[in-house]
Symmetry: C2
Subunit: 326 residues, 2 copies
């Protein structure tokens, strides 16, 4: 096992596509072997810059991602791409009449595209995304793009996993901006106003600008000024400007040491999540869950508060002080 894992690290470092694909699949399934693999790869220098692309369904994230890939390839960046969007053409969804062709990039040796299915569990994909990004990192890609539809928890997951977050909106998303104001402002490093050939762009541009100004007033003087980049991804217009904005944000974060802080906060949160899920796994063994269900169904339970039952369960777990099998 350890021998084949070692062989795999060598293949990943050599950017062997089959090995990368296998490792990402392991990460997606949450295999224990992926831990060993990442531990062995941990000493490698980490170079990949991680870019998140999120926004409501229908905002054109996939087309934009495809254009970004082209633009970044033009800038000689090698790329690992993770698409979490279930409707993404990367994951089999069709973009009818799309002028941007998937096949353009699929043949490129310096681009590795991988779709991931959002699993049932809340925040279930976050660990797998982080692991996959680490694998791309070890393979020596310059950038990792993570595209995910911005619904609920997903949005935050993307923000936590990346160095620059693009929030993609369209002239039609006026109402959404109102509703999700707080959440969006928290995670956006760059706003992309896509499908800007449609009417209504100026209105939402003005609304976003106002939000950004308000936000800035409550921040430090030298904070990042969130730009709004207007694009028509289908035509490719604005994508060059968007790329420049990404590089600018990277340079800004490097200059102000915000990047190092962001990355160590990221690792802290990730470690916390990993420890917690290990604990939860130990705690909610099938046996213990069944016992709890039986207890709650019993007469005695009706005489006890939820706190009392929880306290007993906790004490029981605590006193065993080890896995149930020991």
């Amino acid at each position: 096992m350890s021998g084949s894992t070692r062989a795999m690290t060598a293949l990943i470092r050599a950017r062997d596509r089959a090995a990368i694909a296998r490792a990402v699949s392991m990460a997606e399934r949450g295999d224990a072997e992926v831990r060993q693999l990442l531990e062995m790869l941990a000493g490698d220098p980490r170079r990949a810059y991680r870019i998140g692309i999120t926004g409501p369904p229908g905002s054109g994230k996939s087309t934009l991602t495809m254009q970004l890939i082209r633009q970044l390839r033009g800038a000689k960046q090698s790329l690992g791409v993770i698409a979490v969007d279930p409707s993404s053409p990367f994951s089999g969804g069709a973009l009818l009449g799309d002028r941007v062709r998937m096949s353009d990039v699929a043949a490129d040796e310096d681009v590795f595209i991988r779709s991931m299915a959002a699993r049932g569990a809340l925040g279930g994909l976050a660990p797998a995304i982080a692991d996959a990004a680490d694998i791309f990192d070890a393979a020596g890609f310059d950038c990792v793009l993570i595209e995910s539809v911005g619904v609920g928890q997903n949005e935050l997951d993307i923000a936590r996993a990346t160095d620059t977050v693009l929030v993609v909106l369209t002239p039609e998303s006026g109402d959404d901006v109102q509703v999700t104001k707080a959440g969006i402002m928290e995670i956006a490093d760059i706003f992309v106003l896509n499908k800007d050939d449609r009417p209504g762009g100026d209105v939402i541009h003005a609304a976003l600008g106002e939000m950004i100004d308000l936000q800035r007033q409550s921040r430090l003087v030298d904070s990042w000024a969130i730009p709004i980049v207007r694009t028509v991804a289908q035509e490719g217009s604005g994508v060059e400007t968007l790329c420049a904005a990404i590089f600018e944000h990277r340079a800004f974060q490097e200059r102000t040491h915000a990047l190092a802080a962001r990355r160590s906060r990221r690792t802290l949160e990730r470690v916390k999540r990993l420890v917690q899920s290990r604990l939860e796994h130990e705690l909610w063994s099938e046996e213990r869950l069944h016992r709890l269900e039986r207890e709650l169904a019993s007469e005695a339970a009706s005489q006890q508060s939820a706190h009392g039952i929880a306290e007993q369960l906790f004490a029981d777990f605590w006193q065993r002080r080890g896995p149930e099998s020991s």
Copy 2:
């Protein structure tokens, strides 16, 4: 301590307003004493029917709640009310020009209204709401109303805490329905189409009806048919019908034993959350968090994967097998 707690249980059972207020404040702060209190009250018969009222900001939830209070009082129901909405008039927000007067109900001995502030922590209010509802229950109220603005996690919290969930929409919320479709369908037992004197009501009514039909096709034959009740809360119109729908949903759930199942699922989830938060509390002591931060900042950390660091932390916690102080 235990003596005064015992005295408090007697006062709560006698529906002493000061004692109830004190107990709910304890629940809000997460005081340890509240656990003791609820344990002592746990043997009491639980009669209160719990009704959740949620929906987007501006849908008129507070006015509707006020009207529901009146209507339920007319049906001789005593009421405990929890308002989690930060803009709610119950929590100090003003309803200018509102025809429904807070003072109407404030003087009523059989109504106890309490606002609660949503705390910072994710899902931070859920345990406090559950505790407060238990306190109202012990005080012998017939119904507990929980009003909360439907944003993100809040919505689910309300659904988990109650027996009937009202989702309040307005003719203006057409786009929201599209966006939050799945989430709304999951939690709504009754749709309230409020502000129905405004244009656009028929459109959203039709859209909701379609969603409900689709949903029903994928469910059991004898599942609950989600009604859509059209109201103008400001005028009080439709509120009687809404009340009837709530009682009907209650009767349906009692007839099909769905209520008992819903409540025991609720207790199960609550116990799980309580045990988990106890564990997290033990795990993330300030000392351990600081140690982790120091570790991550060190040279050695850059040679380790997040998994490796998490594994060490977990093993350390596991081997101590008890609180750090022991």
